[in-house]
């Protein structure tokens, strides 16, 4: 069954078109991530689904019901905000139970659901505290708890990890993944961070300038990007884009090679002067500039190249290296940024 389907949805604020002809299907129980650079319309799209904004045209269906004119609270959704948006004058228990009280649930039901959510999220010790007495991670857990107690058909997360520090972000990411496993409810998650998208998603929707660029599983998108934007957006470090001129004669204007697909090769076609080395222990990242015959064709940004090598390597700055790659690992793009399948 389809948990959510968007049918040629458009949204404009006055003359500005924010979302253009969005068509997305989310299956029951699926973890879908909307990812894209800031300003691509992903948060607006989430607000449309939540009912906080009205679509200019198109159909939004949640669990089979058309919800275009249904108020947020009746849509069977729950949302977790980037800023947590906890009610400051209510304690944790009050925050979690407000929606249920509003629905007119009985005291026993409220108590039971709050207890269950707090057990899942390890919040038992904090139920009587106020939001101002909690740390960022705890506040985020309360915000998630507030969503869980409503037992929605669809969870919406709006960049829930952006306000957390790196270590906590990873923990919370794991918690959200576990939560999804435990609840088996459909979730939609908005982020600008491709790592979160890759690690959490069953399905990724890449957005740019209000359009869907590509939809697919993380590995589909990684192995088979539809265009240069998707190729460059997913994967860290990002894909290298080189002028195709000397490397291919199939009409491509650019070649994309992922940093991990480059290897040291004395007979390789690329010559690189090392500018910077990042030693991560398990990996070594080289950042260099193209030199040799290709240097002229690749000025500025285009001349920078990142190589990800396994293990530890003795490499000095300024050293010239020859690099090679397997032809089947290269992606070819035309001058418009579209992918050329070769």
């Amino acid at each position: 069954m389809t948990a959510l389907s968007l049918n040629s949805v458009n949204k404009s604020f006055g003359p500005v078109e924010v979302l253009k002809d969005i068509n997305i299907e989310v299956e029951e129980g699926e973890f879908t991530v909307f990812v894209g650079p800031s300003g691509c319309g992903k948060s607006t799209l989430l607000r449309l689904i939540a009912g906080l904004e009205d679509a200019s045209s198109g159909e939004i269906t949640i669990g089979g019901d058309l919800v275009n004119h249904v108020p947020p609270s009746k849509r069977g959704i729950a949302m977790v905000f980037q800023s947590y948006a906890l009610y400051p004058h209510l304690n944790v228990r009050g925050n979690m139970s407000l929606a249920l009280k509003q629905e007119g649930q009985s005291k026993a039901v409220i108590e039971e659901r709050v207890a269950e959510a707090s057990r899942m999220l390890d919040l038992d010790a904090y139920l009587d505290r106020f939001p101002s007495e909690l740390s960022g991670g705890q506040r985020q857990r309360v915000a998630i708890g507030r969503a869980i107690v409503r037992q929605p058909k669809l969870f919406l997360f709006d960049e829930p990890l952006s306000n957390l520090d790196a270590a906590l972000r990873m923990n919370t990411r794991l918690e959200i993944a576990n939560l999804h496993q435990a609840l088996k409810t459909s979730m939609i998650y908005v982020t600008h961070d491709q790592t979160e998208a890759m690690t959490l998603a069953d399905k990724i929707v890449v957005l740019r300038d209000g359009r869907v660029e590509q939809v697919g599983s993380p590995m589909e998108l990684y192995n088979n990007p539809a265009n240069r934007f998707v190729a460059g957006f997913l994967g860290a470090p990002a894909m290298n884009f080189l002028p195709a001129g000397l490397l291919a004669d199939n009409g491509a204007s650019e070649i994309g090679i992922r940093p991990e697909d480059l290897r040291l090769d004395a007979d390789g076609p690329l010559t690189v002067q090392v500018k910077h080395v990042e030693r991560l222990g398990g990996d070594t990242n080289l950042i260099g500039r193209l030199s040799g015959p290709m240097a002229e064709a690749a000025q500025g940004e285009a001349g920078q190249i990142t190589v990800r090598l396994f293990g530890q390597h003795e490499i000095t700055l300024g050293q010239e290296l020859r690099l090679g790659y397997a032809a089947e690992k290269a992606f070819y793009f035309d001058s418009e940024g579209g992918r050329l399948k070769v």
């Binding site: 939540a50 947020p72 959704i77 905000f81 947590y84 948006a85 906890l86 009610y87 506040r139």
Partner: protein
């Protein structure tokens, strides 16, 4: 703040300035208070002396309590002030919420129109207001005063409150909408508690001019049974003779309720509830 705390000289200078200001501000009140407890002769002979056994007298208070219906005036003033404040805060907050929360045609224009009221003194319209009150039969009722003061207070209230309400996180209101709260509940349960400090500010700013006003009570409600305290105290000020004991006593007593209201509101002024609402 922290650097000032570390340096004793700065702290001293800061406190010195504040104490000096406090003394200057409180001096007239102090003079009124001490003189209200003195005999008429002593008031004129030594206005700055404290009342002692010889000069102590309660004649002013006795006059005030006997002559004129002082408690009625008191009650009138209190009703007018409290009712006006309540209406200003209620309507001001509702208008501010609408202006800050909803996108509608003419939003900006409406805001500017309301802000205009801050710049144009309401007294300019006294004649028209009197006309209006006469034709609606509200002259010599407390309602005349309450309505006028509400109108007078609204522009500033809307202006201040809408600024504060814009600062309340949108996510918070959206979260409440998703939780199924109605717009009225969001207004009452989420936004109002968060702008409580602003409400207190508006209340204090409006309270004192209303309590002290002589103009509108004199024109709109001069009848004995609806006289306010300020107007009532005027009976002691004559063209040729002024009963200073009574005037000073009446003024001293008039300070009390304002002081009380101020204490109530100032607690809210200090309390900052927003901390921890959003990061």
């Amino acid at each position: 703040m922290s650097s000032a705390r570390k340096r004793p000289f700065n702290t001293l200078a800061m406190h010195g300035a504040l104490i000096l200001y406090t003394l200057i501000a409180l001096f007239p009140v102090f003079v009124i208070l001490i003189n209200s407890f003195k005999t008429r002769k002593k008031i004129f002979r030594e206005p700055l002396a404290l009342p002692d056994a010889e000069s102590f007298s309660l004649v002013g208070y006795q006059t005030v309590l006997k002559q004129g219906d002082f408690f009625l005036y008191f009650q009138n003033s209190l009703i007018v002030t409290v009712a006006s404040l309540a209406l200003v805060l209620l309507f001001g907050a509702m208008a501010a919420f609408a202006l800050s929360e909803y996108r509608f045609r003419g939003n900006l224009l409406m805001g500017l129109y309301l802000a205009l009221g801050i710049m144009i003194p309401i007294r300019i319209g006294t004649v028209a207001i009197l006309d209006l009150m006469v034709s609606t039969g509200l002259v010599n009722t407390l309602w005349a005063l309450i309505l006028v003061y509400t109108a007078q207070g609204l522009p500033l209230a809307v202006f201040i409150l809408s600024e504060f309400m814009r600062q309340v996180s949108n996510d918070l209101k959206d979260a409440a909408r998703i939780d199924g709260l109605s717009e009225y509940t969001i207004f009452g349960r989420i936004v109002l508690p968060l702008v409580r400090p602003a409400l207190a500010t508006v209340a204090v700013f409006n309270m004192i001019p209303i309590w002290n006003d002589l103009w509108f009570p004199l024109i709109l409600a001069p009848a004995e049974e609806v006289k306010t305290l300020t107007l009532g105290s005027q009976v002691f000020i004559g063209q040729f003779v002024t009963d200073w004991n009574a005037v000073l006593s009446a003024l001293s007593m008039a300070i009390l309720p304002v002081l009380l209201l101020y204490v109530i509101f100032s607690r809210q002024l200090i309390r900052g509830l927003t901390s921890g609402a959003v990061k």
